[in-house]
């Protein structure tokens, strides 16, 4: 009770002013940037990918889990020499980033890079795997 009394009597205006300044500064980034969030990336599909309709797994799964999927593929091919992936609907694919994924998604700049740049991730897949395997031939 004592504290409250002192606060009410002596420092009320300073504290209120300080709080207002603090809240204004603290929330500055939020209201300054409100309404102009960067738009999500718009990825383009190649004609081949469009024609195939569905990837190895459903799109939502691929969007979220493609890195885990590639990790399983790598492990399976290199360690166990199992190179065929049969998805839940019974369709078989050769497990190869260079020859299966990049065959359909042969537009790295408009497909892979768009999201990777947006999410600010720098995967080093393409240090070794040559993108666009079918373009130059």
């Amino acid at each position: 009770m004592n504290d409250k009394k002192i606060f009410l009597i002596k420092d009320k205006k300073y504290i209120i002013a300080g709080l207002v300044v603090f809240i204004a500064l603290f929330t500055f980034p939020f209201w300054y940037n409100s309404g102009k969030a960067a738009p999500g990336p718009e990825i383009k599909l190649t004609e081949k990918a469009k024609a195939a309709k569905e990837c190895v797994m459903p799109t939502a799964y691929m969007r979220a889990e493609h890195m885990q999927l590639l990790d399983i593929w790598r492990h399976s091919v290199v360690r166990n020499s199992d190179n065929t992936y049969v998805n839940p609907s019974g369709k078989a694919f050769t497990m190869s980033l260079s020859n299966t994924c990049l065959d359909c998604h042969s537009n790295k700049a408009d497909f892979c890079d768009k999201c990777h740049d947006y999410a600010s991730v720098r995967p080093y897949c393409f240090d070794c795997h040559i993108d666009n395997p079918k373009e130059i031939k």
């Binding site: 399983i72 360690r79 020499s81 992936y85 260079s98 080093y124």
Partner: protein, 262 residues
């Protein structure tokens, strides 16, 4: 009345538990359906199988360096092996070697003309007891149980080069520089390597998996024979049975699987 109130409360508790458990079970069931449960990983239909792949080199069929040239260029081309300017940076999967250096433990004072002058093809021996595998701290290089290939997972290689020190055959090369600018024609179906990883011959594991013989064997004009060391009916065993063969630095106990008919 007392007992019936008690019963009512018990039943309510059970019902609440039951209602609460259902969503949890649903989630668990969904998780299982979405996971790897219904996905199958298997070998390709035409994949070649063996307990331990092995190679026999018939050196009697080699007369000059140009006999080995097609094998080397075929291998290096499909695997995107760069041609470095400096010898120190050289990357090689299969190359030619003088008898003296290939078989330093098998040198007699007087050698045949053939052994003195003809180049010998050498490559990773895919040893049955590989010292490189024991040296690798990350298991980037490993002996594949199912077919005996000493494989590399380039993703895991940290470039420590212990394997290079451990290999008595010099079969491993280190990428001191980014190899890409030094590859004349890239094969887009096979990855390149990056700076800082070790590489070597992989017995064409990627070709065996689709039912093809290794690239060097295909273009060797019968100099190289490839097959299963533990299949008594294999071409390799037939050659080993009818010819005297030697292996590189056999006394080290690494059990190389590349045999040379001399």
């Amino acid at each position: 009345m007392e007992s019936s109130r008690r019963r009512f409360l018990t039943m309510t508790g059970v019902a609440v538990l039951g209602i609460g458990a259902k969503p949890v079970l649903d989630v668990l069931a969904a998780g299982q359906a979405e996971g790897a449960g219904s996905v199958e990983l298997k070998k390709g239909d035409g994949a070649l199988k063996a307990k331990q792949w092995a190679m026999v080199v018939d050196t009697r069929k080699i007369n000059k360096a140009s006999d080995l040239e097609p094998m080397i260029s075929a291998c290096h081309k499909i695997h995107n092996v760069p041609k470095m300017e400096t010898k120190n940076h050289e990357i090689k999967w299969i190359w030619e070697e003088e008898y003296h250096y290939a078989f330093p433990t098998e040198i007699n004072k007087f050698l045949s003309e053939h052994a003195e002058h003809v180049p010998f093809p050498v490559l990773c021996n895919h040893c049955e007891n590989p010292p490189c595998v024991r040296a690798c701290p990350t298991k980037a290089t490993f002996k594949r149980e199912l077919d005996g290939i000493v494989m590399m997972d380039f993703h895991r290689c940290i470039g420590c080069r212990f394997c290079m020190a451990a290999c008595p055959y010099g079969a491993r090369s280190f990428n001191f520089r980014d190899p890409r600018p030094f590859i004349k024609e890239t094969n887009k179906e096979y990855p390149t390597r990056m700076k800082g990883v070790v590489e070597k011959c992989n017995y064409c594991a990627e070709r065996i998996a689709i039912g093809k013989m290794p690239a060097c064997v295909e273009v060797s004009n019968g100099i190289l024979t490839f097959g299963d060391l533990y299949d008594p009916q294999s071409a390799v065993r037939a050659l080993l049975k009818s010819n005297f063969t030697i292996r590189r630095k056999q006394s080290l106990g690494t059990e190389p699987t590349v045999y040379y008919i001399v």
